[in-house]
C-alpha cells in the first residue's frame, strides 16, 4: 500500500476523541439481524435470525453460523460479506497455530488474533473497518466460552449477549432469564425465546439458525428439523 494515493488511514480521530468510522460500523451492526449467544455450564449456544430478502431465495444455501475449528463456532450481526472475510482469516490462523504446535488453538487465542485483524483495518491505509460484530462460541480446556468481537477490535467474554436490531430488548430478556447453573438444553430454549421476543412474523426452523457446542467439543449447526423440535418444546 506504500505507493498508493491512499496509504494514509481512512479512519481518523474526530476532535472529540472518537473514531467516527468505527461508530458508523457499529451502526451497521446495530441495523443487522439479531444474533445472540448463551454460555451454559456444559456448553454454549449461538443463534440468529435468518430473514431472507424474498421467499424465492433457497434458504438451504444460506448459512450464517459457521465453524472456525471443530470446537469453535461463530455468528455475526451486520454485513455478511465482511463476516466471510473474517471467518476465512480466522480459520487460516487456527490452522497455522495447529501446524506449529500440533495442538488445537485455545478459544482466547483465536479471538485475540481475530480481534487483531479487525483492529488492523482501523489503522491501515486505504481500508475501512469491518461492518460486523462476531459472537465466538467455543469449548476448550478452560471450558465453555463465549466472546463478542467488535469492529474496533475490542473483545469481551460474556455469559450471555445479543447484537443487532433488537439488542436492548434481547439483552434485557437475557438478564432476567439467565442463571449461572443453566444447562445446554435450557440455554437453547432461552435463546429461542429471546429471538422470539423481537421476531416479526412466524418463527420456524427455516428462518432462524442455531449452533451448539457441548462437552464433547464438537461445534454443530442444528438442522432445520432439529430446530423445529426445540421450537415445539418451547411452545
Amino acid at each position: 500500500m506504500g505507493d498508493s494515493q491512499y496509504s494514509f488511514s481512512l479512519t481518523t480521530f474526530s476532535p472529540s476523541g472518537k473514531l467516527v468510522q468505527i461508530e458508523h460500523a457499529l451502526t451497521a451492526v446495530g441495523s443487522g439481524q439479531t444474533s445472540l449467544g448463551i454460555k451454559a455450564v456444559n456448553g454454549v449456544v449461538i443463534a440468529t435470525e435468518k430473514k431472507l430478502p424474498s421467499i424465492l431465495v433457497d434458504e438451504t444455501s444460506v448459512q450464517k453460523i459457521q465453524s472456525l475449528t471443530p470446537n469453535i463456532g461463530v455468528v455475526y450481526s451486520g454485513m455478511g460479506p465482511d463476516s466471510r472475510v473474517l471467518v476465512r482469516k480466522s480459520r487460516k490462523q487456527a490452522e497455522q497455530y495447529y501446524r506449529l504446535y500440533k495442538e488445537p488453538i485455545p478459544v482466547t487465542q483465536l479471538v485475540r488474533e481475530t480481534a487483531t485483524v479487525m483492529q488492523e483495518f482501523t489503522q491501515s491505509g486505504g481500508v475501512r473497518p469491518f461492518g460486523v460484530s462476531l459472537l465466538v462460541a467455543g469449548y476448550d480446556d478452560k471450558g465453555p466460552q463465549l466472546y463478542q468481537v467488535d469492529p474496533s477490535g475490542s473483545y469481551f467474554s460474556w455469559k450471555a449477549s445479543a447484537m443487532g436490531k433488537n439488542v436492548s430488548n434481547a439483552k434485557a430478556f437475557l438478564e432476567k432469564r439467565y442463571t449461572e447453573d443453566m444447562e445446554l438444553d435450557d440455554a437453547v430454549h432461552t435463546a429461542i425465546l429471546t429471538l422470539k421476543e423481537g421476531f416479526e412474523g412466524q418463527i420456524s426452523g427455516k428462518n432462524i439458525e442455531i449452533g451448539v457446542i457441548d462437552s464433547k467439543r464438537i461445534f454443530k449447526v442444528l438442522s432445520p428439523s432439529e430446530v423445529e423440535d426445540y421450537l415445539q418444546e418451547v411452545e
Binding site: R99, L100, Y101, K102, E103, P106, T108, Q109, R112
Partner: protein, 228 residues
C-alpha cells in the same frame, strides 16, 4: 600485515588436512557431545557429558548441554556448540512469549512440535543440532523424544540418545534399561549408561550432568568419570 603470534597458534597445524570443508556428518563431531534421556515410573532423567572441545583439543569441562525450558520441561542439545546455544536462545524466546500470551507453560508434546517446526524452517541451511526433549505432560506422564537436525521427530517410550557417543549409548541403554524404574534406580541406570558410553568416545566425557525430574522435585547431580 602479519599479526603477532598468539599462544594457541601452534595448534593450527592440527586443522591442516583435517576436513577443511565440513561434509555432512563431520560438522556434528566438531565439538563432541553425549546426551541421553530415559523414562521411569512417573519420572524421567536426562543426562549429558560436560566436554566442550575443538576437534581433539578440550576447551571446557563444565559445558552445559541440557537447558531448562520450564520446571518440568528440559531440552538437551547435541552437535555444533554455537548452533546449540543459538537454538536454545530462540526456543526460550518462543516459550516466554507463549507463556505471556497463553498464561500457561507449554506441554512437552507441544514444545517438541515447536522445535520440529523451528528446525525445518532452516531446511536448506540447517542448525547442526540434534535435540533431546524430556518433560512431564498431562497427568505427570513422562514424555521424551529426539529429532534430527531438520526436525524429524522420533518418539520413544523408553530412552532416546544423541551426540557423538550415540552408538555406544544405544547399546548401553538397550541392555541396562528396564521399564517403570523408580527415581533412584533410574538415576543409577542412566548414569552407568552415560559413563560407560562416553568412555568409548574420545570426543565426549569429562564427567556427567544428570537431571532427575519427578512431579514434585528436580534433582541435579554431577557425575565424576574418567577425566579424559
Amino acid at each position: 600485515m602479519r599479526r603477532k603470534a598468539l599462544a594457541f597458534d601452534h595448534f593450527l597445524h592440527l586443522n591442516v588436512g583435517k576436513c577443511s570443508n565440513f561434509g555432512s556428518g563431520v560438522i556434528f563431531e566438531y565439538n563432541g557431545s553425549a546426551l541421553v534421556a530415559m523414562v521411569g515410573k512417573n519420572c524421567f532423567a536426562i543426562a549429558s557429558d560436560r566436554r566442550l572441545g575443538v576437534q581433539l583439543q578440550t576447551i571446557a569441562t563444565d559445558f552445559q548441554k541440557i537447558y531448562r525450558i520450564h520446571h518440568t520441561l528440559f531440552i538437551g542439545l547435541a552437535g555444533l556448540a554455537t548452533d546449540t546455544q543459538t537454538l536454545y536462545q530462540r526456543l526460550v524466546f518462543r516459550h516466554k512469549l507463549y507463556h505471556l500470551r497463553e498464561e500457561r507453560d507449554m506441554k512437552p508434546e507441544t514444545f517438541a512440535s515447536l522445535v520440529s517446526a523451528v528446525l525445518y524452517e532452516k531446511r536448506f541451511g540447517p542448525y547442526f543440532c540434534q535435540p533431546v526433549i524430556a518433560g512431564l505432560g498431562d497427568d505427570d506422564k513422562p514424555f521424551i523424544c529426539t529429532m534430527d537436525s531438520i526436525g524429524a521427530k522420533e518418539l520413544a517410550k523408553d530412552f532416546v540418545v544423541a551426540g557423538t557417543a550415540s552408538e555406544s549409548l544405544y547399546g548401553a541403554c538397550e541392555s541396562m534399561f528396564k521399564p517403570d524404574m523408580e527415581a533412584e534406580e533410574l538415576f543409577e541406570t542412566i548414569s552407568q549408561a552415560l559413563i560407560s558410553s562416553v568412555d568409548r568416545d574420545c570426543l565426549s566425557g569429562w564427567g556427567g550432568h544428570v537431571y532427575l525430574v519427578t512431579p514434585t522435585e528436580v534433582t541435579e547431580r554431577i557425575l565424576k568419570g574418567r577425566m579424559d
